[in-house]
């Protein structure tokens, strides 16, 4: 299929691992960018999982790691569709030569190694710039490339804590709680993708590349910056209030029939409250002074939540939501994995992509992050197996001959099988 997508003219050499960097380049690969994902056979992207994983891990198809588990891990395979997968050992002299040639044909280099790792291999911005004068070099360590903490490491789970998100997440009168994902990662990934595009546009106008210094921590604080302003104004730290709102009531999650089934209801004004009361069908609520206005309802939230829970608990989740939405009350089901894939709305919008990976078979994956009327997202191929595109990239892109490529394979500079893997 011919690539007619908006970013088809840009080539990104992607050394990043795990989630933050790969989410950045996934957003761009979905829009047609040529992303070359480079991995070491010794230390491949740890999202591929261990070389010899314990049995029963559910990240693999039917929880079976298979003969090549590094090619069968869903956590990796959901982030690398349409990227070219190559392997290269940067610590070997021939590998370094090939790397420099790759840099010379790339518009952007992205890495999220521990701060200074690439520099210790001799590749700082000045060096890359000497190879490719207009290179955009995106370096995204945990705390950026300067300051007393620059050598420190942090994962997405730590970023949620260091940026203040965990502090304000939690049940009422209880400790901070992490999110179900490592939310710091996609936040930085998306910020980085946006900045790369702005840098590419600036380069198009001026011919100049740049060094892009990313602190994953700053990226996460910036997203929720309004909370930092709130604190300076009020002097009060954000409180953990579970699923309540600081502004409105009722605003919570309520149990439905079945095991672990829930509905969310959020009333934001008087007419929505009147509509909710009508659906509940208890006219005495209209005349109950404790719920007469939003201030009263905020004060009597516990009573209100009990009352609504008693109404929801015997009813089916989707059924309640449909009745509430027909009456104009903001509400929604709490969807689980199977629900998401069967939900009629997401099905109609093709929110998830079904992609056939040669070592996995057809599976569902998160789809494109947005829809474009003229140049929609495309899946060109499933996530690459380790080193899958070595020949394509080294031969077609770099012009290495078959015998040169064979020599790199024989000396272990490139390959398709791991030679060891450290993972966290």
């Amino acid at each position: 299929m011919e690539n007619t997508q908006p970013l088809k003219n840009y080539r990104i050499l992607d050394l990043s691992r795990i989630w933050a960097g790969p989410y950045c380049t996934k957003l761009m690969a979905d829009m047609g960018a040529q992303v070359i994902k480079m991995e070491s056979l010794r230390v491949y992207d740890s999202h591929r999982g261990p070389v010899t994983p314990a049995p029963g891990i559910a990240a693999y198809p039917d929880a079976e790691p298979g003969d090549e588990p590094w090619n069968r891990n869903g956590w990796f395979n959901c982030l690398h569709m349409s990227k070219y997968g190559i392997s290269l050992e940067l610590t070997e002299e021939p590998g370094r030569n090939v790397f420099e040639e790759l840099v010379s044909i790339s518009d952007v280099v992205v890495e999220n190694f521990r701060q200074g790792s690439l520099e210790r291999l001799g590749y700082d911005y000045e060096k890359l710039k000497s190879i490719r004068p207009d290179i955009i070099y995106v370096s995204m360590p945990a705390f950026g490339n300067s300051g007393p903490w620059k050598g420190y490491v942090a994962y997405g789970i730590g970023q949620e804590q260091l940026c203040g998100m965990a502090h304000m997440t939690g049940y009422e009168n209880d400790g901070p709680m992490k999110s179900g994902i490592n939310h710091g990662d996609p936040i930085t990934g998306s910020h980085a993708a946006g900045l790369v595009l702005a840098a590419l546009r600036y380069r198009r106008k001026t011919g100049k590349g740049m060094f892009v210094d990313v602190s994953q921590q700053e990226s996460a604080v910036s997203l929720i910056g309004g909370e930092v302003i709130s604190y300076q104004i009020s002097g009060a730290e954000p409180e953990r209030i579970g699923n309540h709102s600081p502004y409105f009531a009722p605003h919570n999650i309520y149990p439905c029939s079945g095991d672990d089934r829930w509905v969310t209801i959020a009333v934001t004004n008087e007419s929505e409250w009147q509509n909710l009361v009508n659906v509940i069908g208890d006219p005495t609520l209209h005349s109950n002074d404790a719920f007469a206005n939003n201030d009263q309802r905020m004060q009597h939230q516990t009573e209100l939540d009990t009352l609504i829970s008693n109404w929801t608990i015997s009813q089916e989740m989707y059924d309640i939501v449909h009745r509430l939405q027909e009456a104009g009350v903001p509400s929604g089901p709490v969807l689980r994995g199977p629900d998401l894939l069967e939900d009629p709305h997401f099905s109609e919008r093709n929110t998830f992509n079904n992609v056939n990976h040669p070592q996995v078979g057809p599976k569902w994956y998160p789809g494109f992050a947005w829809k474009m009327s003229l140049t929609p997202g495309q899946v060109h191929w499933p996530a690459p197996t380790l080193g899958q595109h070595n020949h394509t990239v080294y031969n077609e892109f770099l012009g290495l001959t078959d015998s040169e490529i064979t020599k790199l394979e024989e000396t272990g500079v490139i390959g398709t099988k791991p030679t060891g893997s450290r993972i966290i």
């Binding site: 891990i57 869903g74 007393p148 900045l195 546009r201 997203l223 003229l374």
Partner: protein, 400 residues
Amino acid sequence: MPGLLEGVKVIDLSRYFSGPYCTKLFATLGAEVIKIEPPHNGDPIRGYGPFASETSSIESGAWFLYLNTSKQSVTLDIKSQQGISILKDLVKSADILVENFSPNTMEALGLGYDVLHDINPQLVVTSISNYGQTGPYKDWKGTELNLYATGGLMNITGEPEGTPLKEGAPLAQLGTGQNAFVASMTALMYAEETGSGQHIDLAIAEYATNVLENALMQYSYSGEEYSRVGNRGYGRAAWGIYPCGDGYVGIIAGPDQNWPEVSTIMEREELAEEKYASRQGRLLYADEVDALMLPWLLDNNKVDIFKAGQEHGLGFSFVANMQDILEMEQLQARKYFVDLDHPIAGTLKYPGPPINPRTDISAWVYTRAPLLGENTEDIICERLGYSHEAFLSFRADGVV
């Protein structure tokens, strides 16, 4: 101070969190962002406290101040014929229009994509909504709580025995705003290369599905549902949030070869025992590991614990509150905060650029959020060329 996106022109009809975060990125990168607000009350987020001034609350709400830095405010009644006409004038020379009304609102106003495209074929129109512009739920009402839940994030956040939990910050809306910026930039690059604009459709509920990662993949691959695990990492032990002397810290036990350091830091030889050496072993004896770590954690303070781990190569963290963030030595060393003075809100420390390009120009341009309608006359008379008399009559008619 030109900014990386100098010359890009954005019309911003968006309100609350999602659209304004997208256009904040444009504005602070140097694009001209004209924020169109309804006369009198403006963007409803102006009503969200805390307020720096109780008497001028509309100008001094914390989130409003933060999300609207570097923008210009024009009041315009886009429900009036004259208002629509002025907006269409602005569209002629714009690159991007961002809106986050409920679907069909723009059509109802006579500003559907086809109309905008006819006026300016190169225009990128970025629409953000709860569930998207199509599909059976497109007209559903929703707040952050509802959308976070429907997108699947809520079910996996919280204690296994507790209820599903929403994150405290409005991350589904803000995250959609981030992605809206990437999408708009993508379309802008394409429009500048080909002359063709297009319509972008982002759904807040779909943002959640897009970052589900492990939860969706696990079910898709093995049929095994991913569930709530509280503060422990999924399938991990000694990996999560723990109480300490003055708050909470994040303990990250991996990778395996670094685990023995934990025993050294915490002065507990038992932690170095063979049975805890691997990730699997720690998971098997998770409660024992926690019990061995806890006394030292409770005896020490969060920043000291964080640094002790880091000095030994472990990715420890701590649960920072807002005061911690304002005082963080790393952020100060990197001059992260930007002091902005505002005539009503005074001087506050604004979180600065999410990312730092090092260029020979100033990539980011920070100016305070605009007062309601502060730039109306400027834009309508200077930019669009209406006479002062016309402007006064717009004002008399309540159009501006």
